[in-house]
């Protein structure tokens, strides 16, 4: 489904991604690793927000390296930002209808919003400006990705800043995406419970794919403390020694 060939990204004299090679056919892949290891950069390369300095990106066999963000979106790739973007004047319903690629459909919008624990009545007409809280923004961001429901949904730390609502509901959103749209999901997370339900985990470190394997295998290594700071282990123990 997705293939990354020799992907490198340099900026500011730094090698942020170093020769990444990955072939991903799994339905649900989690990306984890320390802060600053290049996870967000990698997802942005897949979405086309960042152009890699070197390497190619293949999607369903098609070379999409030179495609623009919206062209990739129209091939069925979506992206939920780590820090959702705010707009003055545009409302939740505006973005949901752009996301769904159709006019406003209140019953559908209602479904997407209630899946992330928001009541459509209270939110559809809210402006996506700085009056929405951080957690509300994250939830709306996830609802938009669900509304797009494409072949490949990319999520950058969707659970960050979201209260305990919600964990189960959040996971339901992913399961739904998987089942209903038969789409693939790649998700950056530091959360053990998300890593556990993934089919595979990519462990990124210093811009390099340190590990890419079955979730269960990597989880047991993580739990044995092989990896430090910023990963599931340190979160679980509440200690950082890495």
């Amino acid at each position: 489904m997705l293939e990354l060939q020799n992907i490198s990204f340099h900026a500011d004299d730094k090698d942020i991604l170093k020769n990444i090679n990955l072939k991903i056919d799994d339905k649900f892949v989690a990306i984890t690793g320390p802060n600053g290891s290049g996870k967000s950069t990698l997802l942005k390369v897949i979405m086309g927000i960042i152009k890699p300095t070197e390497g190619r990106v293949l999607f369903d066999g098609q070379d999409i390296t030179d495609l623009e963000v919206y062209e990739r979106a129209n091939l069925g790739i979506s992206f939920a930002f780590q820090q959702p973007v705010r707009f003055k004047g545009l409302k939740v319903k505006d973005l949901l209808s752009i996301a769904a690629g159709e006019g406003v459909d209140v019953s559908k919008d209602c479904k997407y919003l209630s899946a992330v624990g928001l009541c459509a009545k209270d939110y559809l007409n809210r402006e996506i400006n700085d009056t929405l809280s951080g957690g509300e923004m994250k939830r709306i961001e996830i609802a938009m990705a669900a509304a797009r429901g494409g072949k490949l949904s990319l999520f950058d730390e969707p659970e960050a800043g979201i209260d305990l609502w919600s964990f189960q509901s959040l996971i339901k959103v992913f399961e739904n995406l998987r089942r209903v749209t038969n789409g693939n999901i790649m998700i950056i997370s530091h959360q053990e419970r998300i890593l556990e339900i993934a089919d595979k985990i990519i462990y990124l470190k210093d811009g390099v794919v340190d590990r890419f394997d079955e979730s269960a295998k990597i989880m047991s290594e993580l739990n044995m403390g092989r990896y430090g700071c910023g990963c599931a282990y340190s979160q679980k123990e509440g200690a950082c020694n890495g």
């Binding site: 963000v69 973007v85 004047g89 545009l90 505006d94």
Partner: protein, 305 residues
């Protein structure tokens, strides 16, 4: 009314047919229809250059439409419309002017609207300005709005100039009595070599008077906008102004805030910001499938809503 006039009516007043309630339609300087109601009386001014509109005390849930259309190239006019709203009213007034100029002469509409709003009355005022036409003649529009708010009165103004006006000088002057409220949303979009100047002056003279002014501007092409918001707090009052602009291409925007307080209990705030469209907003909309131009358009559409 011909097709052109009908379309212009739709642009400036969102009307598909004659409005319900009171109305006065002015087309190329002549009356193209008028209707008074039991509570709203429309009369021509003796000088013949506009209308006086009287709202009886206690008029509620009624509306008055007064659209103006200019489709004759070279037509220039200066019109005075005065509104006398009694006490305890709750009414909607929809004004608006459309100029369609396909000829070689300049067309111009100067409209001076004066509102006297009585005790505890509520007025919603909507005004849209719009120009079109591919002639070499220019389209000018200079609206002046004067608002006098009596005790406890409220005026909510929604004013916009979205396209096609070469040059505009928009003056708004409001004077507020005790407990009066003014809420104003002003939107301007300029493009090409258009110029727009807006001057909004508010005097908060009564205790507990409040004003909230939001001005949004988008300057594209090589257009220029000059926005002045001037609030004076002369009593125990609250004044807030927000002047927010997007510049694109080679647009120029000058935003000048002015606050003056002559009473220690006056609280006045002015916020102003000018910048281009945030790149991350465009990228976000691109991840939803819009190309760059579509994304920009959506962002501006929302911003000027």
């Amino acid at each position: 009314m011909d097709e052109l006039e009908k379309r212009m009516l739709k642009e400036v007043a969102e009307l598909d047919s004659l409005p319900v309630g009171a109305f006065n339609i002015r087309s190329n300087g002549e009356s193209a229809g008028r209707c008074s109601t039991a509570n709203i009386q429309i009369e021509s001014r003796e000088s013949g250059d506009g209308i006086n509109v009287y709202f009886k005390d206690g008029t509620k849930n009624e509306s008055c439409h007064i659209p103006v259309i200019i489709s004759k190239s070279g037509h220039k006019e200066c019109v005075y419309n005065d509104f006398f709203v009694g006490s305890d009213c709750d009414v909607v007034i929809v004004a608006g002017c459309g100029i369609s100029n396909c000829g070689g002469h300049d067309s111009q509409h100067d409209g001076i609207h004066t509102f006297h709003i009585g005790k505890n009355s509520k007025v919603k005022y909507v005004e849209k300005h719009y120009g079109e036409g591919n002639g070499t003649g220019k389209r000018f529009m200079n609206p002046t709005t004067v608002v006098n708010l009596d005790e406890g009165a409220t005026m909510e103004m929604d004013t916009s100039q979205i396209a096609g006006i070469n040059d505009t000088y928009r003056i708004t002057k409001a004077v507020l009595g005790p407990g009066a409220t003014l809420i104003m949303h002003d939107k301007i979009l300029t493009n090409f070599d258009q110029t727009a100047k807006a001057e909004i002056t508010v005097e908060l003279n009564g205790d507990d008077s409040v004003c909230d002014i939001v001005s949004r501007g988008v300057a594209k092409g090589e257009s220029e906008q000059d926005v002045i918001i001037d609030i004076a707090g002369n009593a125990k009052c609250k004044g807030h102004a927000e002047c927010d602009s997007i510049i694109m291409d080679k647009g120029v925007i000058v935003a000048t805030p002015k606050l003056k307080a002559t009473c220690v209990d006056a609280s006045l705030i002015h916020e102003a910001a000018i910048g281009k469209i945030a790149g991350e907003q465009i990228i976000k909309l691109m991840t939803l499938g819009l190309n760059e131009q579509e994304a920009e358009q959506k962002i501006i559409e929302g911003f000027l809503r």
